[in-house]
């Protein structure tokens, strides 16, 4: 009980009364305007403290036409988005980058039932901008929205050029590094387990492999596909072995599939890296303790999320930013190669 009212949360008006100034002044103090005399600032702050005042966001955004919120749009279709350590890392990166700012993170799973819901939400002035994680799907169907709303995409679009703001990982170069490493290890019959070809990372990593192998004067014909799950990696490895038992190296488009592949290799009586060298991609949390420890290409997933967030914030605040930023990858050599 403050004596003024017993009700709910204290309002700016109550603070004004308490401090003996106008609402406008309190607002100025709250928003850090410099044009307020020091003593008034202090008095107001004391009142705020005393009343435990917290500005009401709804009122604020109604009046200011800004929400201080950004949305993270994720394709629900792949219901396993969160199973994917890569995606999880992105979310974390975004959240951490936003943590010290005034922006709030709203997660939006695309509703398959009502696919338009997301669009309406974005257009309804609920957020100041949005992050679209299209890394896996390459789906830039939200692109047209960027005329009405600041948007930053994770991953390049599936079909070539775009004028959108994007943050991506250098998948092709990473794959190149990983595959060259196989060659450097003296492998002459390298194969690859590629990702889905309707996802940019799947396409780019396969391209990197092909380039490395053909550049070395070897055949790049041993290609099988998986869907980034351990099980699919195992199956792809079986198909590969059936096609060419003499395989002596395999570049796998992600660590999860690599784990599956290694299991099959062992099952077949082959040793890793004795008979076959294996290189993965991601450097997920299992890679280092796998048996054998997995040689892999590390991608900065966490950093990707953080960079997307930073970029969006700058975009919202009218600063100029480069259109596409590509984050580097790095080869991590361990025991499997």
């Amino acid at each position: 009980m403050t004596g003024i009212s017993g009700g709910g949360a204290p309002t700016l008006e109550m603070v004004a009364a308490h401090a003996g100034v106008s609402r406008a002044t309190v607002s100025r103090v709250v928003n850090g305007s410099t044009k307020v005399s020091p003593d008034v600032v202090e008095a107001v702050q004391r009142s705020i403290e005393e009343l435990n005042y917290v500005p009401n966001r709804a009122a604020r955004s109604l009046a200011s036409r800004r929400t201080q919120a950004i949305a993270l749009i994720v394709p629900e279709s792949s219901a396993r988005v969160f199973d994917d350590p890569f995606f999880a890392a992105i979310v974390q990166g975004v959240a951490m980058a936003l943590s010290p700012t005034e922006y709030t993170l709203t997660m939006m799973l695309e509703s398959e039932a009502d696919p338009d819901k997301t669009r309406r939400y974005l257009l309804g002035g609920n957020v100041d901008g949005a992050l679209v994680v299209s890394h896996h799907t390459g789906d830039h169907s939200y692109a047209h929205l960027s005329r009405s709303l600041p948007l930053v995409f994770g991953g390049r679009p599936l079909d070539g050029e775009s004028t959108e703001y994007t943050v991506d990982v250098d998948n092709e170069h990473g794959a190149l590094l990983g595959s060259q490493h196989l060659v450097a290890r003296g492998r002459t019959r390298p194969a690859t387990i590629a990702g889905p070809q309707d996802m940019p990372p799947g396409v780019d990593r396969l391209r990197g492999f092909r380039r490395a192998v053909t550049d070395a004067g070897l055949d790049a014909d041993l290609v099988e596909y998986g869907d980034f799950t351990p099980a699919s990696g195992a199956e792809a490895m079986r198909r590969l072995l059936a096609r060419e038992p003499g395989i002596d190296g395999v570049f796998v488009a992600n660590d999860q599939m690599a784990m599956g592949a290694i299991a099959v290799l062992a099952e077949s009586g082959r040793t890793v890296p004795g008979d076959v060298s294996v290189v993965g991609f991601d450097d997920d949390r299992y890679a280092a303790t796998a048996r054998p420890a997995l040689t892999t290409v590390r991608q900065p997933s966490h950093e990707m999320g953080a960079e997307m967030a930073r970029k969006l914030v700058r975009l919202i605040e009218g600063q100029d930013i480069e259109q596409a930023t590509v984050l580097p990858t790095e080869l991590v050599v361990r025991a499997s190669s």
Copy 2:
């Protein structure tokens, strides 16, 4: 251009004008009031369609004093929250359960820099309720907030009783099942790699192990601790082996540590399950394709998130709900035991 105004998003007022009714009526239609004549409803809906009207959330919540938003509070301290497949699954469960509702999900990482930020946010009327994932930390320090805000906790508090609403997994019983399975397999020198004892799941799973083993008339002295990461599992296994080379079974408090443990077992020349049976906990996505495939206790992480969300929504809407719900676990027998 509608002819009315060239500006930004259409407002309720514009719809009213377009449809030739009052704002109040449009509001009623938008909010699904039954007391509007069918033809008017239709006319208004047509106008909404035509103008592409989307209600402004800020205005709505300012007027209605509800935000249609709920927060998911996660402890940033464990910066690796998202690395944890269990946690990731929870987030997904929450998001999916909320997807068909009108509620929006706001993710809040607790800021270590400004720990009070979260509290202020919650109290600032920014959300209608909050979910607190304390599964790992057992931290119910937000409990006192439940007087001012509907709150649902994931995981029981570390210290015994609480009057909060919680959703938890039956960790102890799951551990009991997993450990009994070891005994049923004829193992007489079972050990366990437990989780941190400042986390309820760590405590509960260890208790389950102890109960199973002592009930079978065996010694429950072989206990080492890890922090749920693969690396810590490996280390704990080494310590265990150093203490008692004759170990023939090990119940590990989660799959990630189990993977680490299996690697060490193999390294030491032991076969799994020939020499040592291994049982994990979680049934994460690597379990099935691990080598050997991991016998483990499946916990419904995804369902836990979904249940938390459903519970909170019911709480917010004034329906009555049971205080604590405990989700069952299930033993999944595979090759490692």
